[in-house]
C-alpha cells in the first residue's frame, strides 16, 4: 500500500471542505480527484503531499504518518518521493528551461535530464527563458521538472485547465507515459471532464 487516507477531514475556519475521507492508493496507481471548482481538490493534494496539515484523520505514505512528521522531515520526504505539476506551473522566469528542470532534486538514480528534454521535445528550447516558451512548452517543462527526479508519486493539480483539447491530450499522454515508465503513482486533480475517461480510479468530491 502506497497511500492510506483514514477519516480525513479538513476545514477552513468553520467551513468544512471535506469530511471523513478514507481511501487507499497502491504504487503505480493513477487516481483522478474530480469535482467542481472549490470542492477541495487542491486542498486534498496539498494534504497528501505534506504541504498542508490537518488535525483530523491520518495520511500514511509508505508507513509514515505525514501529520506526525516535522516540517524538515516533510521537506526531505517531498524532495525524495514527490513530483509536482502545479496549476499555474510556477516556473521561475529568470532561469532557463534546463535550470528550471534542475531545481528538482536530481539524484544519481534520476533519469538522464538530456534524454528527458529530448523526449519532451524541448531540446532546442533548453537554453530558452520561460517567457519565450509557448503554453504547451511551458507545461512540458513543468512535467519534466516533476518527473526528472524519478519520484514515487506525481501530483498534478489541474494540469489541463488552461489547455485546448489537443494540448490537453498531449499532456495527459505524457504524464501517463512517464508514470508507466517508472511505475510512478499519478494523482491528478481536475474539474476537466475531458480527461475523466483516461482514469479507472476516481475520487469524486462535491
Amino acid at each position: 500500500m502506497h497511500f492510506k487516507i483514514e477519516n480525513l477531514k479538513f476545514k477552513y475556519g468553520s467551513q468544512i471542505v471535506f469530511d471523513n475521507q478514507s481511501f487507499t492508493i497502491n504504487r503505480g496507481q493513477k487516481l483522478l480527484i474530480h469535482g467542481p471548482s472549490g470542492c477541495g481538490k487542491t486542498t486534498l493534494i496539498n494534504l497528501m503531499s505534506g504541504l498542508l496539515q490537518s488535525q483530523f484523520g491520518k495520511i500514511i505514505f509508505e508507513s509514515e504518518d505525514l501529520f506526525e512528521l516535522s516540517e524538515n522531515q516533510l521537506d526531505k520526504l517531498r524532495a525524495k518521493n514527490f513530483g509536482f505539476v502545479f496549476q499555474r506551473l510556477y516556473l521561475i522566469n529568470y532561469l532557463n528551461v534546463e535550470q528550471n528542470i534542475q531545481l528538482a532534486n536530481i539524484s544519481s538514480n534520476s533519469c538522464d535530464m538530456n534524454s528527458l528534454i529530448e523526449e519532451l521535445g524541448l531540446l532546442d528550447k533548453r537554453k530558452s527563458k520561460i517567457r519565450e516558451l509557448s503554453v504547451g512548452e511551458a507545461q512540458r517543462v513543468a512535467i519534466a521538472r516533476a518527473i526528472v527526479s524519478k519520484p514515487k508519486v506525481i501530483f498534478a493539480d489541474e494540469p489541463t485547465s488552461a489547455l485546448d483539447d489537443n494540448n490537453s491530450e498531449k499532456v495527459m499522454k505524457l504524464l501517463f507515459a512517464q508514470a508507466e515508465k517508472n511505475n510512478t503513482t499519478l494523482i491528478v486533480s481536475s474539474h476537466d471532464s475531458r480527461i475523466k475517461k483516461k482514469f479507472s480510479n476516481f475520487l469524486e468530491l462535491d
Binding site: T42, T43, N46, S49, L51, L52, E71, N72, D75, K76, R78, A79, K80, F82, F84, F86, Q87, R88, Y90, I92, N93, Y94, L95, Q99, Q102, L103, A104, N105, R145, E158
Partner: protein
Amino acid sequence: MNDIIFIYYSLKSRWLNCSLSIFLTAFGVAIALLVNQFEHTFSKRLSKDGSGIDLVIGAKGSPLQLILSTIYHVDIPPGNIPFHEAKKIINHPQIEYVIPLALGDNWKGHRIVGTSLNYLEHYNAKLEEGSVWKNDFEVVVGSSVNLNLNQEFEGAHGLFEGGDFHGDKKYKVVGKIKQTGSVIDRLVITSVDSVLSIHGLDSLNKNDSHLNPIKKSDREEDNKSHHKHPKNKDNHEHHQNGKSHSKHSEEINQHNHFGDKKKNNVNLEDDDHGEHAEEHAHEHTKNSPEITAFLVTTKSPIANINLPRFVNKETSLQAANPAVEITRLTSMLGMGSKSFATLSIILILMAALSIFAGLAANLENRMGDLATLRALGYTKKRVFKIIIFEGITIIILGLILGLLFGITIFEIINNVIKPLNTIQESFDLTNDLIFIIGIVFITGIAAALFPAIKASQISVANQLSRNI
C-alpha cells in the same frame, strides 16, 4: 541546482536594484576608507614629525602657525627672532637641547631649512650617499627631493614654489638622506649660516655652545666643522652683492621671513651671554642674525608648562607647545572628519536600507518562486540561506568595490596633491578599517535577515493556491 548559481541568476534578474545597493554600499565604504586613511596618515605624521619636540620658541603670533611652520613645514612662520634674544633662553636650565631653524627659501616647493646637524640626528636621518654639509651653501636633501649629488641649484624666495631665484649664490648637494618617513624627506637642509648669509645677515657665533646642548661630542664635531666654514668670505661676498637682494627683501619681509639686512658686521663671537648680551642689545641692529625658531626638548614635563609661561611673559618671544596646539588642530579637523564619517555612516545605512528594501520588496514578487522551491523539497533553512546569501553577495560586492574605489582615490590623491605625494603615504589596513568592514558586513546581513526569515516562513500551500 547549485544554490550559488540560483543566487547569481536571481540577483542578475534584479540587476538594477542590486547595482543601486552595491554602489550605495561602495560609496559608503569608500568614504569611510578615505576618512580612515587620511586620519591615520595625519595622526601618524603628526606624531612622527613632532616626536621629541616639547616646545617651539619663535616669534610672537599664532602658536599653531609657529608649530605648523617649524615642525611640519606646512605654514608660514609668524616671523623671525633676533638671535641675541633667543640666546637669553636657550641656556635655561630646564632645556635639554635646542635645534635652530632658519627658513626663508625653497627649491621647487621644497623648503630650504638652515639648521644644525642635530636636526638630522633628531629624525634619525641616515645618509644614502655623500656626506653632511661642511661648508656654507652645501646641502643634504631628503629622499623626496629630486636633486642629485653634486648638483648645484639656486634657492627661490619664499616658502612656496614660484618665487624669484637667488641668482647670486648657488647651493650644492653634498648628501642625500635615506627615506625616514618624516618631514625631512621633503626638505633641503643646510647650515643656519647658509640661510643667514644668503639673506645678508651675519652668521651665528660658531663657537656658541648654546646652539647644540645635545650630545657634547656631536657638538664638538659640529663646531669643528663650523670652524672650517669660509664664513667670513661668504659674508663678504654677500655684502658685495647686497643690492641684488632688494627685491627679495621686500617679498620676504611681507612674509616675515629673512629679508636682506644692511650689513653691520656685528661679530657674535664677541657677544657674551646673559646680562652682557642685554647690555649690548642696542648693538643688534638690522644685520644681526635672526632665526625662525628653536625646536626645544625640555628636561622634564613640568618644564613644558613652566618654560612657555616664562618665555611668553618675560621675553619678546613666544613658546608654543606642539602637543597643545596639535590637540587643538586635530579637534578642529576632527569636526571635519567626523562630518565625513557621519556621511559614510549615512551612506552605509542607506545601502543597508536599499538591500533591505530590494530584498523585501522583491520578496512579494518571489513568493511563488520560493513556495515552488519549498514544494520541491527545499528546506526552510535552505531558503533562508539563499536570501541571506543574496544580501551577503550584495554587501561583499559593495565592500570590494568600495575598497577598490577608496584605495584608488587615496592613491590618486596621494599622487596628485603634492604635500601628500612628497610624504609618500600608502594604504594601510588599520584596525579601524577592519572594524568598518566588519560593521558593513554585519549591517548587510541584518538588512537581509528580515526578508530571509519572512521567505523561509512562507505558507507553501497558501502561496501556491493564490489566484487560482
